[in-house]
Amino acid sequence: MNKTKEALARRIVSDDKVTFGFWIYLMTDCLIFASLFAVYVVQRSATAGGPSSNELFDLPFVLVETLLLLTSSFICGLMVLAAQAHRKNLVIIGLIATGLLGAGFLAMELTEFSHLISEGYGWQRSGFLTAFFTLVATHGLHISVGMLWLFVMIYRVSRVGITPATLRKLTLFSLFWHFLDVIWIFIFTIVYMIGVL
């Protein structure tokens, strides 16, 4: 009896450590984005005779993209609620929906990229496009990593169900996903919205 209590106490402490560590990690990742944002702001006018931001971006398109990501984040939040209620099937459905929306987001982003590149406005064109592609693609890369994580979680939930360890991992995943959402809001504002002004 005492043993299990102790084990439980240890588990809680270790959960606490992991969560705290994960928050610090997110902060460091945030700083990577901060550096890229700073670079983007510096490079925004460095068009080297090429197109500038208000000639390139298609705001309605990006708005749809944004909505996809926001919705996926919302569903991800619901998924965690389902996990806390130990509703295994709901969790899996939630994960799949989150993933599909994320995939839609990525597909739209890639479409935008290939469109730009086909017009001759790739990252080699100017300092501005370099900064734009790198910032947005870094976010996209994070989304891809998130998708990979998501697949692993689907596999895990269907295999072992919702154990305390799974619950913790799902929570961390949703933290990551929301974080990417917040970063995207900044990209949307600073790159696209201010960009078309």
């Binding site: 240890r10 402490v13 606490d16 450590k17 705290f20 560590g21 610090i24 990690y25 902060m27 460091t28 990742d29 700083l31 990577i32 901060a34 550096s35 890229l36 700073a38 670079v39 510096v42 490079q43 460095a46 068009t47 080297a48 990252w123 080699q124 064109r125 100017s126 300092g127 501005f128 370099t130 900064a131 592609f133 790198t134 990979l148 692993v152 596999y155 895990r156 072992v160």
Partner: protein, 660 residues
Amino acid sequence: MLGKLSLDALPHDPIMMGGAATVVGALIFGALIVTFLKRWKWLWSEYFTSLDPKKIGVMYLIVALLMLLRGFADTLMLRAQQVLSTGDSQGILSADHFQQVFSAHGTIMIFFVAMGLIFGLINLLVPLMIGARDVAFPLLNSVSFWLYIAGVALINGSLIIGEFSAAGWLAYPPLSTLEFSPGVGVDYWIWALQISGIGSLLSGINFLVTIFKMRAPGMTLMKMPIFVWSVACSMVLVAFAFPILTATLSMLSLDRLIGTHFFTSDMGGNPMMYINLIWAWGHPEVYILILPAFGLFSEIVATFSRKRLFGYTSMVWALALITVLSFTVWLHHFFTMGAGANVNAFFGIMTAVIAIPTGIKVFNWLFTMYHGRIKFATPMKWFLGFVVTFTLGGVTGVLMSVPAIDFQVHNTLFLVAHFHNMIIGGVVFGIFAGITYWFPKIFGFKLNERLGTYAFWCWLIGFLLAFVPLYALGLMGAARRLDHYDPSMGWQGLFVVAGIGVAVLGLGMFFQVLQLVYSIWKRNENRDTTGDPWNGRTLEWSVPSPVPVYNFTHIPTVTSRDDFWETKQHPQADTRVPFEAIELPKNSGFGFAIGVLSALAGFAIIWHIFWLAGVATVAIILFVIIRTTGEHDSEIVLSAVEVEQIDAAARRKMTAGVKK
């Protein structure tokens, strides 16, 4: 198939072949010794796969000290060149090779010597000082270590295959862009730093969590040993600064790989942006190194003055203030950029302001010594040497914080003298003091004091001889990174003095090696028989030396600052608590595998062998997925009986070999 790699990548000229032969020879020699002693299995199971921070710490120290020898060998070449190469003589190195050598020297000394030594001591000391059995994430800790080794492997690999960067230790563009550095040198630089830098970042997170979540019951923040505080501040800096380095290196690498225009000199690229970014990391980096050294000195001064550290609270505040301020001064590295008088004035003033908390710390140490019963053991000698050299360096630093003066000495040997003053007189002396002081705790016997004293004097005198002339040379207008100068400048005499200084430094290192060998040989005469050889103050001295795997049989309850010291003043009746079972992390080859794969991936990208880079990256991802999703027990349990036996054996061993 093999990208840019071909047989031409092997070294051709005699000096470079010498370098390659030394590395290969050292590796073969090491491997032969291990084979001869039949120690491979032992090495693998006791060290390479160990998750014990004490073992990881020892590995950091060994590798970093070897790298110190490598970095020092570089300076022998630099110094010889600058002594000889004037007038008709071209010295011993070609201009390009000279550039590679100072770039390698700076890079190795900062990333693989200073960082390695600091992380080694942090691993060894932090868990013990906070009364914990381990770090927060032992497996991650081992990954960090092996990423550091991957960096070491790459930077030394550049001696054998290809070349190293000739763009200085910070690889400023446009020189470091593809246009002006088409070879693989800069790529070696990028990937050695990128990989080991990610390791440092992970360590930073790990130790922050360790310090904030794993302190023994009763140890409030203001009861932490000051070294732990200094590490906490340093790790905050790691967490804030290293992401900037990661991002910056990635951008430089993209410029070189896929033709982006971050830092190129055309198409809207902006080289000055790189210089801003790299120093936004670089200035905090120097504090990442010096703050833990401050912490080490604080513990040492208190112990050898047999007094409480004077002004603990102000020490903590000074550390915190330096941590914050260190992000507001980066522009002092390029006052000459032309940012305008007001910008320069702001950064100049901020730089001068940092001297205030630093000064507070120096005075606190002096007041700690005041009226103390000072014992001049070697760690204390290093401390006193530090006070002298560090103050000198501090004064020249404040001097250069005045933009108008900096315009005169920017990029001269005056600056080189200044930062070696801080780094050798500050960081390196601090680490040597720390290693001497905690050596008995780690290995169970003290280092020989007499040889240590010789080494100290050689370092102090050698340092002054080697670097004070550089102040003069700098004021006479000698630029840094010079491979040749005209005799009419009248610099040669001072370069000769500096060269003699380096020889004296070499003698100092010789004494240190001798000290180590001699102390191991005579270890039974210098056994630490009590676990507390210096009459210490903090928790690590309360356990046997060398420390058993689990650190503490019982997690201590802390009631005051310098808890162990207080306990010694008011001995309590020995209330024996029964031993209990202890859970420890199981060995794992995971970190090793990640390190090897990362080095492979880095090597592949450097040489444009993209399929290999892809394979290695996918392998890393798979390993991570398998490791984090698998349900395996990653812990072993020592039963109460086993703990009792280990404890008794550790205590017996302390006195066993001692001759009566």
